[in-house]
């Protein structure tokens, strides 16, 4: 009963959020068109001299310039190259600030190992410098929130990189729960968990508690409210995925084992040794939010087997893969998925595959492909503008459009 109440409350919050968005964000957008010498739609298609027509923040027509009629006087942005707005499949931007001082670091709460009750919307800073930085590099949507480093560090959200308030920016206030397995979950000042087995034991105990809590809820038993267990029940119900940051092969297998045991939706994050477990990942049908291609190994020995070729190997095998900017503890304070996708081109991926890693693949994985990820009629008008091959080092991002608004005009 209470769960139903909660679901209703949450649904109300969501619709309020959406109403808020409709009222304040895209309604002000002027209609406009983007005309690109090379228009990559994100569906695998490239239209030469293509046009995207935008009305009320949405895409209303896409096609070759000759096929599209629009009113004279409409603002037309002409560029050499355009792609769908880029999607960062996992980030801590907006939580882990550029200054790297205690007051701007909200990606990880170290007071306890398991805190599923930590909500991402209570901490997201949409005006953070690094949100702007990603926006200036064509990134229009980010899945961000609590980072790796504790067994369950908290919730994540999905936001556009535009908007003055959390309410304006967010498109999913509670997407998933951030979890970590392996030594990375043991690196803190507490004595426990102190090793791999203990990490898993603690997680299993908590999931078992959530199972019992869920049973009580299902039986209308009305247990005392427990926000942490409520969030875990959402995981057990399949409403939220458990996003597990994991690198070593044995830890990846542990994550698969847990997902089978407790029947939750698993998304692997990081997964630098995923190339060792192609068959297992295919069998389990688990999507992978792969580490940044240029990930640094100095987080510890856990990462040292990473490869620049992993994206290519997973894509070739047919495993759903998206790229993340991840977490950076020092300079640079964030990575940029545009650069990370570019880096896969020299290591086995073709152009369309690399673009997919930061457009449609993450959109599908995050369940937002009805709104973003490609330039198709009916979707949000989120577009990245370039002065050449988007992936070449020496090409610049020259503009970003979000919900039909030309929100960045800097050359990056």
């Amino acid at each position: 009963m209470r769960l139903i109440m909660k679901t209703i409350t949450q649904a109300a919050v969501y619709s309020l959020t959406i109403a808020f968005l409709m009222a304040f964000a895209p309604a002000h957008a002027q209609d406009l068109a983007v005309q690109a010498e090379r228009l990559y739609t994100g569906t695998g298609e490239m239209i030469e001299n293509g046009v995207v027509l935008i009305e009320d923040g949405k895409i209303t027509q896409v096609g070759p310039a000759a096929s599209i009629q629009f009113e004279s006087g409409l603002e037309v942005i002409e560029v050499p190259v355009a792609t769908p707005g880029l999607i960062d499949a996992r980030s801590v931007v907006g939580f882990s600030g550029a200054m790297n001082q205690p007051h701007d670091q909200d990606q990880l709460e170290r007071s306890a190992a398991i805190q599923p009750e930590l909500r991402a919307i209570d901490a997201y800073n949409p005006r953070e410098r690094l949100v702007e930085w990603l926006r200036e590099h064509g990134v229009t949507t980010i899945h961000t929130g609590h980072g790796p480093g504790e067994i369950i560090s908290g919730q994540t959200l999905i936001a556009k990189t535009w908007g003055n308030t959390v309410e304006q920016a967010v498109i999913d206030p509670a997407f998933g729960l951030s979890a970590t397995l392996g030594p990375a979950a043991t690196q803190h000042d507490r004595t426990s968990p102190g090793n791999r087995s203990k990490v898993v034991a603690m997680l299993r105990i908590q999931l078992q508690k959530a199972k019992e809590y869920k049973a009580k809820l299902d039986d209308d038993d009305e247990p005392a409210r427990d926000l942490g267990l409520e969030a875990l029940v959402e995981v057990l119900n399949g409403d939220m995925p458990l996003i597990v940051e994991v690198h070593r092969h044995q830890d990846i297998m542990t994550a698969l084992r847990l997902a089978e045991e407790f029947e939750f939706n698993l998304i692997l994050a990081g997964a630098s040794e995923a190339y060792l477990l192609i068959d297992e990942l295919l069998a389990a049908q688990v999507p992978v939010i792969l580490h940044p291609t240029m990930m640094r190994t100095w987080g510890g020995g856990d990462l040292q087997h990473f490869s620049f070729t992993t994206a290519a190997k997973l894509v070739e095998a047919g495993i759903p893969v998206a790229l993340q900017s991840g977490f950076e503890s020092y300079v640079p304070k964030t990575r940029v998925v545009l650069f990370e996708a570019a880096m896969t081109l020299a290591y086995g991926l073709e152009f369309d595959q690399a673009l997919n890693l930061i457009t449609m693949a993450p959109a599908k994985m995050l369940g937002i492909d009805d709104r973003v990820g490609s330039l198709e009629v009916g979707k949000d008008a989120d577009i990245a503008l370039f002065n050449g091959d988007p992936f070449e080092y020496t090409t610049n991002v020259i503009g970003t459009i979000i919900d039909g608004q030309h929100v960045s005009k800097v050359k990056r």
Partner: protein
Amino acid sequence: MRFNLILLIFLAALGLSSTSIYAETYAFVGAKIIPIDGPEIQNGALVIEDGEIRGVGARDSVRIPRDAQIIELSADQVIMPGIVDTHSHIGEVSGGDRSDPIQPEARGYDSINIRSSGFKRALAGGITSVNIMPGSGHLISGQTVYLKLRDGNGIDELVLRNDDGSVAGGLKMANGTNSLRAAPFPGTRAKSAALVRAQLIKAQEYAEKMDSSDEDERPARDLAMEALGEVLSGERMVHFHSHRHDDLLTAIRLRDEFGFRMVLHHTSEAWRVADEIAAAEVPVSLILIDSPGGKLEALYLEAKSAPVLEQAGAKVAFHTDDAITDSRYFLRMAAMGVRAGMTREGALLGLTQAAADMLDIGERTGSLTRGKDADFVILSGDPFSVYTRVQQTWVEGQKRFDLEDPDDRLVAEGGFNALTDDDGAGHVHHFQDHAELHTKQGAAR
């Protein structure tokens, strides 16, 4: 038996003293050559012999010795000079410890593990010469080492040497926030400068007394003072870590006051004081990273420092700061300079000749010039394209990296057991120091 032993020793000695015993004559033909000291050459030829460059030019204009092994390359491939990294922390290098902010007597030379994966990664990135530096958590953290990524069994076979046989290297200095710590380290910027100034004055006095004709006047040997004396005399270059605009100008002020030779490193905010840097004729070694921040003094880091310094007339090079950026894709950093508006020529120079000059090794490496060391890289395409791979790296006429070799390819691409250690550990500690400092500052507030 005995004869064999003597022969063995003789051969071993030869092997150690010179690489020429292994050297052969090679002619690389057909590729595009970027010699750096002149215009790019289509369908070029590069001839090397005994570890030196014998000829560079258009294929039909270079004399190719009869005994040369001809290596045919395609017109898409590119040969450019071996890349010079002016600032790297490969080899688990260390310098001073936590006992004092000023430790010029600590030598990186005494700490480097040449079997660390960092050396292999550097070769995979086309790097042939490196300035390996201790970290920046001190005002003076110690002596740096210039070396070539030769095949050797110990550090002595890799280091470059000065004319007097001493190990070539500079002195690592820093200002800004990295060296601000609990006592005896400084707590403010002014104190940082005051501590350095006091030590350099001591070194001036030491040097004066050492020059005394009266033997009794000469002080007891002091290794720290000796190293600073080499700085004051101009023999030892100062490599000065500095980020913020005011810190950059403080470094220049100290240089002017004491007359040492200096390269500014990192220089996040160089774009704000580029004219002053150019007017002071201080060369700059830049790091360009993918976003600003990570610490306060890098908040205003902009890749436009590269074009702005270039336009102001300053000499610009780049560095990996490995493991801040990975040596395997060092070419990318210069390309990012071009992305920000630097000229292609300037960016190429910054990876090669300009960088070599900053280490005082520009006479022997940094360009494909007859008589220079045969340090070069073969690329699959344009140096600044994301689609390009480093295919071979040659150091003094020896092939040190070959993408066709499975072991080398594993290092270049990564994979299971590709990197057998966690080189860059120096920077892990470096970061932990910062984390600790941040926590303390947080607690103090």
